[in-house]
């Protein structure tokens, strides 16, 4: 490139330093918005084709799942808390959002191998559009909370907006790790199987079937569990549902947000560094 002044030739595939990747990924999002919009449409429309109930499944799935967990918990623990079904349903919704975001980002390159081989555009678009589609379906799922509000006679308040915020946070917590592992998954598919296991195991380590308050009652448990970055989003959504801003400890909030931010920076930097060599394995 140097010594070619006045020449219009530019190196193909030349990129900014990967250190700027988080910032440039945002500008990629904007410049390719029409493409992302179409990819989103494909993913969201594809999810429920040829099904009679269609989009209702986004609401039905967490509702049915929560019913199962509810009975399981009642049998095991005889829980007196009448809000427990609501806690579980919110936990399932927010955790599923995290899990699906993580899995779809990790597999975003491998699932789109045929497109990647035929046309070039920044591959991070695949990852972001799968995240977008998961956020969209999770938002639809969270509509199940509206009848629940009526059932519990909970006042509708502005704090309800904390629920979508929590969903965003859950997705954000998954992005970085997903981007980090997506190129590695091209080389070795063990990654996606490992992630599937982690999502299942994480279900129990995160407050899906239990709550932050239950951990606090155990004393020391809360000190350990606060390091799980998914505790805050789930707790935030539950508090929002009840109409109060969370009383979650500040350092726990910081841990969750710092994890998301740090992983996003590292993840997008490494994604842009390794995507080129990774696609040769597809």
């Amino acid at each position: 490139m140097e010594g070619n002044e006045g020449h219009r030739l530019r190196e193909i595939g030349a990129k900014d330093s990967f250190l700027f990747a988080p910032i440039s990924s945002l500008s990629i999002l904007y410049s390719h918005r029409f493409l992302i919009q179409n990819l989103l449409k494909r993913e969201t429309k594809g999810r429920y084709t040829n099904s009679f109930l269609g989009y209702s499944w986004t609401v039905l799935e967490p509702a049915l799942l929560s019913a199962v967990y509810y009975f399981l918990f009642i049998m095991l623990a005889d829980n007196p808390d009448r809000y427990y079904p609501a806690w579980v349903i919110i936990g399932v919704i927010v955790w599923t959002c995290f899990g699906k975001c993580l899995q779809s980002t990790v597999t975003s390159l491998t699932r789109n191998a045929s497109t990647i081989h035929l046309v070039y555009f920044p591959r991070i678009i695949f990852s972001y559009s799968s995240i977008g589609s998961t956020i969209w379906t999770t938002m639809m799922s969270s509509l199940v909370l509206l009848p629940l509000l009526l059932a519990y006679n909970v006042q509708i308040s502005w704090q309800l907006l904390l629920v979508p915020l929590a969903i965003f946070l859950a997705a954000f917590n998954a992005v970085g790790l997903g981007l980090l592992l997506a190129p590695a998954n091209c080389i070795n598919r063990d990654i996606e199987h490992l992630i599937r296991f982690i999502v299942r195991a994480g279900f129990f380590v995160s407050p899906v079937m239990w709550t932050w308050d239950m951990a606090v009652e155990r004393g020391w448990a809360a000190d350990v569990i606060v390091w799980n970055p998914m505790v805050f989003p789930i707790t935030l959504a539950r508090d929002g549902f009840m109409g109060h801003v969370t009383e979650f400890p500040v350092h726990g909030v910081m841990i969750s947000i710092a994890w998301g931010l740090l992983m996003w920076i590292i993840g997008s930097a490494l994604f842009s560094k390794f995507e080129h060599s990774a696609v040769k394995y597809l």
Partner: protein, 239 residues
């Protein structure tokens, strides 16, 4: 001296062999597969360059390096102007979306703007001869219909450098003629073109120069007829 549009300098590219358990039983060495071996050439502005060679000789890989899909291990590849690769018509086509939605999806994958796609939709429908079918799901389409839709969208491409990888020869004879004409129109319009094809008649008629590749290396560059002769000489020698 006329302006260069594409400059490929000493480009090498190897594909890693898959790590699989089966590899233990095979006694092949585990080194990488060298798809391109220090390839150098340049294309002038307005030139139509053909690439021929047997299957697996690296033709398509070379086009993909120029398109930016694969980045070379060594060497570099420079270009002036917007590049589009025409390969595998209908990338991203999805059965459950309608023809219209797929046209938008494919168009956006190829880098068309939304406003352009809206403008072109009428033309796309008439060229693909789909008419009322355009709002039916793609899974109800025949292979020929998909190919027609793909070409209709792709032909809206208006790049400064056009790369074509074996896209001729789909559909019935009438459409085949029509698509050949369309691609020739695109070639004429784009100016700078690199085309990979096994159709030697086409190559001699449209190419200014032809490269003959073998085993990831350039064997011959120059006059189309001589390049084809070089190809046959090599293939006959193989027997």
């Amino acid at each position: 001296m006329s302006e260069q549009s594409i400059v490929v300098e000493d480009v090498s590219l190897s594909f890693p062999k898959k790590k699989s358990i089966l590899q233990i039983f095979k006694k092949t060495d585990s080194s990488n597969f060298l798809a391109l071996n220090s390839v150098s050439f340049s294309v002038k502005k307005g030139e139509v360059l053909g690439i021929i060679g047997r299957n697996g000789c690296g033709k398509s890989t070379l086009l993909r390096v120029i398109a930016g899909i694969f980045s070379p291990d060594t060497g570099q590849c420079r270009s002036a102007g917007k590049i589009s690769l025409l390969a595998g018509l209908g990338t991203g086509f999805t059965g459950h979306l309608t023809g219209r939605e797929n046209a938008f999806l494919y168009g956006s994958i190829l880098g068309h703007e939304q406003s352009l796609m809206k403008e072109l939709m009428k033309e796309i429908i008439s060229f693909s001869e789909l008419e009322a079918f355009i709002d039916e799901p793609l899974r109800t389409y025949s292979a020929g219909m998909k190919a027609r839709l793909g070409l209709a969208v792709a032909s809206a491409l208006n790049p400064e450098i056009l790369l074509i990888d074996e896209v001729l020869g789909v559909g019935d004879p009438v459409f085949k003629e029509k698509s050949k004409k369309k691609i020739l129109d695109m070639v004429a319009e784009a100016g700078t073109v690199v085309i990979v094809s096994h159709s030697f008649d086409l190559m001699t008629s449209i190419c200014d120069r032809v490269i003959h590749m073998n085993g990831g290396e350039i064997k011959f560059t120059g006059d189309p007829k001589e390049a084809i002769a070089s190809y046959y000489a090599l293939e006959q020698g193989r027997k």
